[in-house]
Symmetry: C2
Subunit: 381 residues, 2 copies
């Protein structure tokens, strides 16, 4: 034997991943499941494993299997919480690390026991905290974006001021605004935050400006602090570009203490094929929330992307389903929305939503301030 | 007009992304391309754009379009280098950020002008530097992994010592070894590095141990330094879990000065569907290399995953094609390989390869040291 018998100290607590296996009959599905149980943990054939707790407890365990459709099975596999080391990157790794390279397997849900939920602080504000910050109750919240890429910082700040005067609650950088020579990060954030805060003094509103902090790894925390010092009221980050754990780092930072918005870019490949990847519910709902996002941007159905109403409902579920003491967070549907779509969006999402209309607001008419006021009036009434 | 005319200072240098559009006739393909040109930059309808350089230079530009197959088109779209802000996360964002949420679009290639290549230091060692470190010339290099998850650090170190004695060049942590209570990072790395270095003193070999540094965001650099101080000769990181720019940060750190190995976990969803995502050539070849990896692990064809020979050739191309002054790096095919597959692997990849056999080495026979010596003899002859 290559390995001695191994005895480990384990809590017995396990978390569960529900996988959807497509194109398989039951025998094939069971073979795939056995493969996942090994691949996601020990990466050895079963017969080579040491006797004792690795074989009995560390290897993934099939909890249940059900047929969901013709040639589609759902399997719940549980893993010892200790396999994650109580760290977010390794939780993703156990959930789907190497299995992400297998076709026709999709992660549908993630069920975390109290022991793992305690590991994560989760959203600092969540829905209720963000409403308190904004002093905005009983209505959907409004979001728009500063654009386009290339517009000088001074002009972006002019836009920000008009949005804030017009009653927008949350103004974010377009996700393509980073640290380009057209609008260097620090100058842009200083100008835009000032414009928003000046407008707030006039209106009495509490509009928040959330710049994009998706910086090189060693500058993420530094830019977040620059933003706070400049008067930004929130932060936006793109976990697909900088890692989900960078979002957690910003969200947990008590010195910042700012709400954090998650942006969906570069993670689309997890969701676009319905039989592969990681479901919308997780990628754009539960995972950003677990990391501490207070709101999660995604593309609404019926815009210029292909998400379906069911996909969007899944994101809302992941953002707001009961999850230990972790607060529910706001869904922010956007992507090709217009004021004309607003009543339908409110009906679909209910009041606990942040409505993102950006291009559609710029296109609504030549007077941006007036367009914002119309946007606001649609939810105030 | 909402926007004033805009005049920008631009170098005129552009980088090019080749996208593959599936399921479209030429008119549909042209409409999709126009959408990409806007989506990846200004995120506004063309008619709303300010006059001047944003419309003329910042918006993506179709360079060429060709029909690759029935209902499949390839399009080269160029972007001003300034749109990236000369930062790696934003380069990925311009390449595929929001378009990742569109089905049936795949990024096939990325062509970077000198101005952008200068931005990236790239691999510190590359193929030639790694060979010099290992003093290993004229043969494929050998890699294996410490496993399984759950095995106490002392036992992992015993394995590491045997691998090093047996003539393995590169010993990596299994990618699931993080900082678990079974084998806490610091203890594991100290023990394993010591075992390898002790073996090296006996053999005269220069075997490198590369622990897994895929830590929480604020601990990545710290763990890398702990590893170096413990005597580790390399670092392994999983960009799919911690962000590609974290790999760059480690690779560029002169205080570390260690070779960096990229691991493919959690990025599989970019490649598993042939009509979506980001091609193998980029995801597991060019992108890790651009960030500074010296070698890139991926799953070989014909193992327990579904990569094809063409996928693997793409990765080799991305890892070694001419790329300014950026050194070529080693492909590390693995994933279900055995000693019996070795001759075929050497024939397929040639000598500039690191052959990863892990489970297959543990399974080869009861005497691990003897199995390693057989592995080594197969490439020494």
């Amino acid at each position: 034997m290559i390995f001695p018998p191994v005895s480990l100290t384990l809590s017995g607590d396990r978390f569960t991943v529900i996988y959807r296996l497509a194109g398989a009959d039951e025998a094939e599905a069971r073979a795939k499941i056995k493969g996942i149980c090994l691949e996601q943990t020990v990466e050895l054939p079963e017969e080579l494993l040491p006797d004792g707790d690795i074989r009995a407890e560390v290897v993934g365990r099939l909890e249940w299997l059900r047929q969901a459709d013709a040639n589609i099975f759902e399997a719940a596999i549980s893993y010892a919480v200790e396999t994650t080391g109580f760290e977010l990157p390794q939780l993703l790794n156990v959930m789907f690390g190497n299995t992400s390279m297998q076709p026709h397997i999709r992660v549908e849900r993630l069920e975390l026991p109290e022991r793992l939920l305690q590991t994560f602080k989760g959203p600092r504000f969540g829905q209720s905290g963000l409403r308190a910050l904004l002093q905005a109750y009983g209505r959907p919240l409004l979001c728009t974006a500063l654009k386009p890429l290339g517009l000088p910082a001074k002009n972006l700040a002019d836009l920000a001021g008009q949005f804030a005067l017009g009653g927008i609650d949350l103004i974010k950088d377009d996700h393509g605004l980073a640290n380009q020579p057209f609008h260097p990060f620090h100058e842009r954030v200083c100008r835009c935050a000032e414009a928003v805060n000046t407008a707030n003094q006039k209106t009495g509103y509490r509009c928040l400006y959330a710049p994009n902090i998706s910086a090189p790894a060693q500058q993420i925390v530094e830019r977040a602090y620059l933003a706070k010092e400049a008067g930004a009221g929130g932060l936006m980050i793109i976990p697909g570009l900088v890692g989900l754990d960078s979002l957690r780092l910003l969200a947990e930072d008590d010195g910042l203490g700012l709400p954090v918005i998650s942006h969906p870019a570069y993670w689309g490949s997890y969701v676009t094929h319905p039989q592969q990847g990681v479901a919308h519910r997780l990628t754009y709902g539960l995972l950003p929330r677990l990391a501490g996002a207070d709101a999660t941007i995604f593309v609404n159905y019926g815009g210029r992307f292909s998400f379906t109403p069911a996909d969007c409902r899944g994101i809302v579920a992941g953002a707001s389903e009961p999850l230990g003491r972790l607060k529910p967070i706001f869904p922010i549907p956007g992507g090709g929305m217009t004021l004309a779509r607003l009543p339908e969006m409110v009906q679909f999402y209910g009041p606990e939503v942040i409505l993102l209309i950006a291009g559609g607001l710029y296109a609504h008419g030549p007077n941006l301030l007036e367009s914002c006021r119309q946007f606001r009036a649609l939810v105030d009434k």
